[in-house]
Amino acid sequence: MLERPDALRLIDAAFADQPLVLTLGGTIREMLAVVGRKPNHLYSLDAMGQPLAIGLGLALGTSRRSRGERLVVVEGDGSLLMGFSALSTVGHLKPRNLVVVVLDNGVYLATGGQPTAAASVDLVGVARACGWADARDVDSDVDALTRVLAWAATAEGPILLRVPVGTTQPKTDFFLEDPVVLGRQFMDWLDSSAEASR
């Protein structure tokens, strides 16, 4: 079973220079711990339930950028369930550049490990039923995740990948950056990367 930091390292490696929205809490802190702070990472500090829809807006807003660029959302099962309606809107709009990786540990880890309802929900089946281009359950090991991320980097979206991960929570520092700075840095990176691709 992969732990979340392992999965995050692989996701960053697969989309090292592409826009990536990170869900809140431990996911942000662990990504910072394994790859450091990156300007192409949007850290949504406390926007539970929102990363998928934020990513949808970004995917729509960046769809005219260089061919091959993906807009990646790293979401948790609890936050995805909180913003579940966005699955249907993604299926309706079908942004071809959107890749969503759901790191499913089955619990609200940041608040003490209370269970989510994810164990009872076929997240992949819901995405398919909503009209996503593809959705897959991924084996929780390095090779399987590496392969599917390489595929998702070129396949037509929207794509949802559900990756089971463990509940080990490495000790990390709180991330207390001013959200205005985080938003501005990400926007500046988006602008500069668009310039570079012209």
């Binding site: 926007a47 807006g57 970004l58 309706h92």
Partner: protein
Amino acid sequence: MPRPLPSALLSHVDTRERLVRATQPGSGRGVEAIDPEFVLHLPSSTLKLVLGHFLDGPGARPDRRIFPIPREEEGISILSGLALAGRRAVMIFQDNGIGNMLTALLTFPQPYHLPLFGIITRRGGLGEYNSMIHTISERSEALLTAADVRWFQLDAQTPLEDWSPTIQRGYEYAHTTHRPAFVLVNLMGG
């Protein structure tokens, strides 16, 4: 010979006409002056004519995406992503959805200083026909003010010529202040 009705009694009709005019491309102002690339909408009977302008009227263009969203907070998040990407967008919804949107608004675009813009149609008050909706709708201003969310108002007392500029200036205000801003539009007459 009956006396003409005072114009104030016709405000219900007038206000609908005002917002419809405010969306017309020929005016060069109002919603069309924003030239939104994306129009997000929730159901609104009072805005049927305006939504029709974008859905299958002159405002329906190949280079413009108009799409429904199921919940206000989801719309706020999508608008946030569009704002981060520097795109022009507007969300049109009713005031009974303000409660839905507040947590999303105050946990992402407001603290991240993102310029979102929405047009909120008012319910409740004079002319309201629903026996329940006033319970939340008549608290709209208080809810937004308590949340420190900037809003502007259009109603029957607003001169016709001010409707379009107010919508345009509301959008500009959001971008000037790097904050969400909303225009409350009262089509109910009171």
